[in-house]
């Protein structure tokens, strides 16, 4: 009987294997190490599966799963180990292709299997998807059953869970840039499969996804979402040759750049502080180096970046416009390696490797600006100092099959000092981000996954008032958070998520420290607690509808000690209140429903609709219109500042064209902002105890259309995106109470990105951006006062700067002839703003042309000099050449 059963399975599997793309073949003479002392048999089986790259099939009733096993097999053949573990305990085994079928004499597995088939019993396959070379988990990879297309995707930690009926299934694992893995699985019990995927050479492909014709991508593509793999990031041109993760966002439809040299970006009309940037789940409050020329995280350290322009999953909150979720590399679990980049402006170096092979790893990466020595050569009196560094480290421990631990640490620091000819003798600016996180992944069972994170983060900005930096203005924001998330893969049609977080925030709105360590003034500090709870579900309804719905409930409390100022309608102080330590003086609660629905109209055509509410309690107050990150002051919601809220409605259409090679999406949205923040004219932000009185709350509304043609696979990849977007605001006390276009209102945005890999050693990429000029306020007349020519303004943001456009090109030449060489190195030529377009970010009417032809502010107030309107722009062409290496 048993023999008949095995034969039937062999036959079935053989037939199925004919159509597979990738097959594991087994060699039982391969040597592995298994050491165990009274470990349950089931765990030993798992270890053999993992180390031996093979899979067991058995009925749980057929073997004594909890039988304690002791074995000391150091570097022994698999065959030897199988004998020791099974034959010795009276368990028979047979090798059927890549499966070891276990059975106990006298047990009838076929009868048991047939019973499972007949009853439609469900079993679950779960595990992690990993990169074969490094052991890094793969985020967002697809896992699906080839016949039915029932499928799922790996979560942010590379974990997946897929429940299917008993039987033989062909399971496909696919991920962009990797060769698809197809496995035949006899599903007669719950199984753990953690295949390792091999990176595809040269072209980015996702074999199975392209070939599919009858289903959309599991209806899985989320509305308003864009994912960057490390491969895509590597192709984008950067401003200094070093790839830049934040500037990469600017080529995504719906995301608008502030301009050259800026890390600030606007999503669907929202202000830049409405973007939540997460590094391994920790918020980063200033993502820029050198005022914004570069992003704070070295691109070498990134493994994945996901961007949500709206319709955030319920686990995200706290910002109105976007979430940029960056995952850093875990570190190679299999071998040591190093890499780096040497360039004229920055250089990076990273090392990674296993601490205990296959069990734990580390990643350590650092970057330093290489231009800080340049000013000192030219300005021998050291009037200018400029530089930055960042360092990130990660530890990754696989404690056992159910528990993983990650630790991340990041520090970044910027300093720029300049001595000027003016009454201001020395001014310096510095800012730094420090964050640390500890994450614990726990698999409760085949369907329930959890992640618990504890993190601390601090951002501070300093303005040095004395040359010795002993007198300075400083603002800061920091928080300590404990959060936990649960993912419950109930069945292929329902994936529940739920979680909560508790955060303690501390904010310094900008105090001056004097030389004697005293504080010059009394700017109240803020202490706040934030509690958030959420739950959501992704549900397939039939084969054509996917629903994602959920609710998020954030609670906010402001606590003492502090001094609260109360204002009247004219923003004059009418009362003050000293709050005692830990006393709650203000609290808010918000209910954030979120839902979106995807409906498959026809094969390869789907429409999606979504609604989401978001709430923001933290506000970056800044009335500068500079593209550079300037002296930011963060203040929380409280008695004078109500939480900002936004309702967003979106509707999208998705299809694929030209043999499924090109994806097309079009999405329209309307967003309404409540308690939108604008400022009193010439608001005083930096050193003002009454800073809350400078805020003018109002409302705003934005709407737009985003379209994108995306070719993600093949030697030629890229996209063309167009966005039409508008944002208007209406704020009592601003623009005479009449509606006005917001500063970030830039209606037209066209982006083209193309990357081409030749068959040989060259690769090319280019992006071109066309963007409406920023809204600005220009004078309608002038008057003279004490030698100054003073502008008079009419309507706010009445004018526009010239249209912005720019072409960047990157050429990459692989120096190693062998593509799979151990030591890989490249030369990268980067040209930013190739045709030298002068893209102004500001217009002013206050300069004269001096005898040297420079445009300067007139100093003499006795005589009239001819003023000229001038525009400011960051740069024309910026060339760079970088040497990149990896071992």
């Amino acid at each position: 009987m048993c023999h008949t059963y095995v034969k039937s399975i062999v036959l079935s599997i053989t037939v199925l294997l004919l159509s597979t793309v990738f097959i594991y073949s087994q060699d039982l003479s391969r040597k592995i190490t298994i050491v165990a002392d009274n470990i349950p048999l089931e765990e030993i089986i798992r270890e053999i599966e993992e180390k031996g790259d093979l899979h067991f099939s058995y009925s749980p009733q057929s073997i004594p799963a909890s039988l304690p096993i002791s074995i000391n097999a150091q570097d022994k053949s698999i065959k030897y180990i199988l004998k020791k573990v099974f034959r010795k305990n009276g368990i028979k085994y047979d090798l059927v292709e890549n499966h070891i079928v276990l059975r106990k004499p006298g047990f009838d597995p076929e009868q048991d299997y047939q019973a499972d088939l007949a009853s439609g019993k469900l079993f679950t396959i779960s595990g992690y998807l990993k990169d074969r070379a490094s052991g890094e988990v793969l985020i967002g990879a697809h896992v699906y059953e080839k016949e039915s297309y029932e499928g799922t995707a790996t979560n942010a930690y590379g974990f997946y869970s897929l429940t299917l009926p008993a039987g033989v299934h062909q399971i496909v694992f696919s991920f962009i840039g990797y060769e698809a893995v197809e496995m035949t699985v006899l599903l007669d019990r719950d199984k753990k499969l953690s295949p390792e995927m091999k990176e595809s050479l040269m072209t980015m492909k996702e074999v199975e996804i392209i070939g599919r014709t009858d289903k959309p991508l599991f209806l899985n593509e989320q509305i308003s979402e864009f994912r960057f793999s490390s491969k895509t990031l590597a192709k984008l041109p950067g401003i200094t040759g070093d790839k830049d993760i934040i500037k990469s966002l600017q080529v995504v439809p719906g995301i608008e750049s502030f301009g050259d040299g800026s890390s600030l970006f606007f999503v669907r009309g929202g202000s830049s502080d409405q973007n939540l940037i997460l590094i391994d789940e920790v918020p980063l409050y200033n993502a820029s180096h050198l005022f914004g020329f570069l992003s704070v995280i070295s691109p070498d350290a990134i493994s994945d970046m996901e961007v949500y322009k709206g319709d955030f999953p319920v686990k995200y909150g706290g910002r109105l416009s976007s979430v940029v979720d960056i995952k850093t590399k875990d570190g190679n679990m299999k071998r040591f390696g190093f890499g780096g980049n040497i360039g004229p402006y920055t250089s990076t170096l990273s090392v990674e490797g296993p601490i205990i092979r296959e069990k734990s790893s580390f990643y350590l990466g650092g970057r330093i600006s290489t231009l800080q020595w340049l000013p000192q050569l030219y300005y021998k009196d050291q009037e200018i100092k400029v530089g930055f560094f960042d360092l990130n480290a990660k530890l990754n421990f696989k404690l056992n099959d159910k528990n993983r631990l990650f630790g991340t640490f990041y520090i970044g620091n910027d300093l720029l000092e300049r001595k000027t000819y003016s009454s201001i003798q020395t001014y310096g600016i510095g800012w730094n981000n420090v964050l640390g996180t500890l994450r614990w992944n726990h698999v409760f069972n085949k369907k329930l996954f959890s992640n618990t994170t504890f993190y601390v983060t601090r951002y501070q900005y300093l303005l040095y008032l004395s040359e010795d930096r002993k007198e300075y203005w400083k603002s800061s924001i920091s928080n300590i958070t404990l959060k936990t998330d649960f993912t419950w893969f109930l069945n292929p049609n329902n994936t529940f998520t739920a979680g909560m977080n508790i955060s303690s925030h501390a904010l310094d709105a900008g105090n001056i420290n004097l030389n004697d360590n005293s504080e010059a003034g009394e700017i109240p500090n803020y202490n706040c607690m934030e509690y958030s709870f959420y739950a959501g579900n992704r549900q397939n309804v039939g084969s054509k509808i996917t629903l994602r719905y959920g609710i998020r409930l954030p609670l906010w409390q402001d606590l003492g000690p502090t001094t609260v100022y109360y204002f009247d309608g004219n923003y004059d102080v009418i009362d003050t209140f000293d709050v005692e330590k830990n006393a709650v003086y203000s609290s808010y609660i918000s209910l954030e429903p979120r839902i979106n629905i995807t409906y498959q109209l026809a094969p390869n055509h789907s429409i999606k609709a979504g609604y989401s509410r978001t709430t923001q309690f933290l506000n970056e107050l800044n009335n500068s219109i500079s593209p550079f990150t300037s002296l930011a002051v963060w203040v929380p919601s409280g008695p004078n500042i109500k939480p900002r809220k936004a309702d967003q409605y979106s509707l999208g259409y998705f299809t694929s064209l030209i043999n499924k090679k090109i994806k097309f999406s079009a999405e329209t949205y309307y967003k309404h902002y409540y308690n939108y923040i604008d400022y009193a004219p010439h608001a005083n932000m930096l050193y003002n105890p009454l800073i809350e009185g400078e805020i003018r709350p109002g409302e705003a509304w934005s709407y737009g259309l985003e379209m994108m043609f995306h070719k993600p696979f093949g030697r030629l990849t890229g996209w063309i995106g167009y966005t039409y977007s508008r944002i208007f605001a209406k704020t009592p006390g601003v623009n005479n109470g009449s509606p006005y276009r917001a500063f970030q209102d830039r209606p037209h945005n066209l982006t083209i990105f193309i990357a081409y890999d030749t068959k040989k050693r060259w690769s090319f990429s280019a992006n071109w951006i066309l963007l409406s000029g920023a809204a600005i306020t220009t004078p309608v007349s002038f008057y003279d006062y004490n030698g100054y020519v003073v502008p008079i303004y009419g309507e706010k943001n009445n004018d526009r700067l010239p249209v912005y456009h720019r072409l960047d090109i990157s050429v990459n030449f692989r120096l190693n002839k062998d593509e799979v060489a151990r030591y890989k190195h490249n030369l990268i030529l980067n040209l930013y703003n190739v045709y030298g377009r002068n893209n102004p970010y500001f217009l002013s009417f206050n300069r004269i042309s001096d005898p040297e032809g420079d445009y300067v502010i007139p100093a003499d107030h006795l005589h009239t000099q001819e003023l000229v309107p001038t525009t400011l722009s960051v740069s024309e062409i910026i060339p760079s050449i970088n040497y990149q290496f990896k071992f």
Binding site: F291, L371, L416, S423, S630, F782, Y783, H861, E866
Partner: protein
């Protein structure tokens, strides 16, 4: 080549590119009365300027003639007359000086409308002499340091009158080309625009130059006005430009500008030759 790269990078990082723009001002046709005047505690003929706004950046100032101007405090009233030698300049007919503990009012009557402003004076302070420095590449000098730009208390305006018309070698030049007036400020506020504000023209002068340094004590209202004035003029267009807005005023009825009353302290010095 190295210097070339350094220049490029520094320009990128610090100065950005400043280019002349051809920009049409979208005029709104509105006319404003502009008041430019500071009454001081110095006994002299006091004056204020009245003029209109102008459409174009480099238009000449349009003086406002024919106004009736009165300055008063609790005890005295001064009627100002238009200077027969300079239209739009209204002067006291006697030598007067402002006094502490008095609230001063300016009243202007023009074309059947009244415009007014109020101001008061705070005590002045003595101050240390400014410092100057020899240029690296010639024998001329420039102002190095006047006062701290930030002071939580006691805001002030520093008027530096520089005159080298009588320095040997410069006597034959047009005296007007050898006189400059520079303004510096100490304010109780810090602004983003103030940090890395645009490069200011450097005024150079020879050894032997006479410098008159005058400190105007500013009230908090006057300092607030100066702050917005600088935000729209000297500080605008730097690395961190602020959102433009109209400069504040203490004038009523839509008039603009500022009427202030200041205690003035002064000292004078002569530039003596020194090494770098």
């Amino acid at each position: 080549m190295k210097r070339y790269w350094i220049h490029i990078i520094l320009i990128i990082l610090l100065s950005a590119c400043v280019k002349e723009a051809d920009w049409d001002v979208p005029e709104d046709g509105l006319k404003y009365i502009v008041v430019d005047g500071i009454l001081t505690n110095e006994y002299k003929v006091q004056y204020i300027y009245l003029h209109n706004n102008k459409v174009n950046l480099n238009d000449v100032t349009l003086p406002l003639s024919g106004a009736e101007v009165i300055i008063s405090n609790e005890d005295e009233i001064y009627t100002l007359i238009e200077d027969p030698e300079e239209a739009g300049r209204y002067i006291t007919d006697t030598i007067v000086g402002a006094r502490f503990s008095k609230n001063y009012s300016l009243l202007i009557y023009y074309h059947d409308r009244f415009y007014s402003a109020q101001a008061y004076m705070i005590p002045g302070e003595t101050f240390p002499e400014l410092t100057y420095k020899k240029n690296d590449d010639n024998d001329l000098y420039h102002i190095d340091y006047v006062a701290s730009s930030f002071e939580a208390e006691d805001p002030a305006m520093w008027e530096i009158q520089i005159d080298w018309s009588s320095v040997p070698g410069y006597e034959d030049r047009d005296p007007e080309t050898c006189r400059k007036k520079l303004l510096f400020y100490t304010l109780p506020t810090l602004d983003v625009s103030q940090v890395f504000s645009p490069v200011v023209e450097q005024v150079n002068f020879p050894a032997g130059t006479k410098i008159l340094e005058r400190r105007y004590a500013l009230t908090s209202e006057h300092a607030a006005f100066v702050r917005t004035l600088l935000l729209e003029t000297s500080w605008q267009g730097g690395v961190f430009p602020s959102d433009p807005a109209n400069v504040t005023t203490n004038l009523s009825e839509g008039a603009i500008g500022f009427f202030g009353v200041c205690a003035v302290n002064s000292l004078s010095l002569t530039v003596t030759p020194k090494k770098n």
